[in-house]
Subunit: 124 residues, 2 copies
């Protein structure tokens, strides 16, 4: 059995800034056909995450500003971790993606439960 690492499955993260509107973030999610936006500062450092679930929550609660729905405490992964570890971490937190970051906190990419699920079907 070959060991598969997070870095083998991770792909480029779609990002947004903290000052964007909810509408702009929604357009980005639809344009890239993803569910997760990684929020970064001007130097590409991790500031939070916002997902289609958070935008849905904004609709449910009548919230209008992106800053109010950005999740600040982000659960992440490192590229050298085995995918089993990433899978367990997502299951423990009931989340479907982990931004992949380097030792300096810079965003290298993202790994999602869809990426890991694809392994089970024999894909990459």
């Amino acid at each position: 059995r070959e060991v598969v690492f997070v870095g083998d499955l991770a792909h480029e993260a779609v990002t947004c800034g903290e000052d964007e509107s909810i509408e702009m973030a929604a357009k980005r999610i639809v344009e890239h056909s993803v569910n997760h936006l990684v929020v970064v500062d001007d130097e590409g450092r991790l500031k939070g995450i916002v997902t289609s679930w958070d935008i849905t929550k904004a609709v449910a609660e009548g919230v209008r500003r992106l800053r109010e729905i950005i999740v600040r405490h982000v659960v992440t992964a490192a590229p050298g971790e085995p995918v089993e570890v990433a899978s367990r971490r997502m299951a423990q937190h009931n989340i479907s993606a982990l931004p992949v970051i380097d030792r300096k906190g810079r965003v290298l990419g993202i790994i999602t439960s869809e990426d890991i699920s694809r392994l089970v079907g024999g894909g990459r």
Copy 2:
């Protein structure tokens, strides 16, 4: 290696009717902490699917009625199919869930990429 079937991982689907508002659908998604609502008629038969991604698209495009965002052609799975088959089907369509239906088209549950990803980490 034990074979795992869709029926082993599937769980209860959160449903909604076709005549609900987008806001009600959003509240249901948040309340149950899921991303997928299976749209059913009064007899529990499959009529479509609507997800947090669709609600995000409604925000991006200024759409206000649920009927306009319900996806009618639903990709499904049967409880007796191996999970590898379900994983490949989701990957082929770039989707993250399959309603599980019986031979008469009644909704038995749902299986998501999060459920299948959890297998990789050793969970069920």
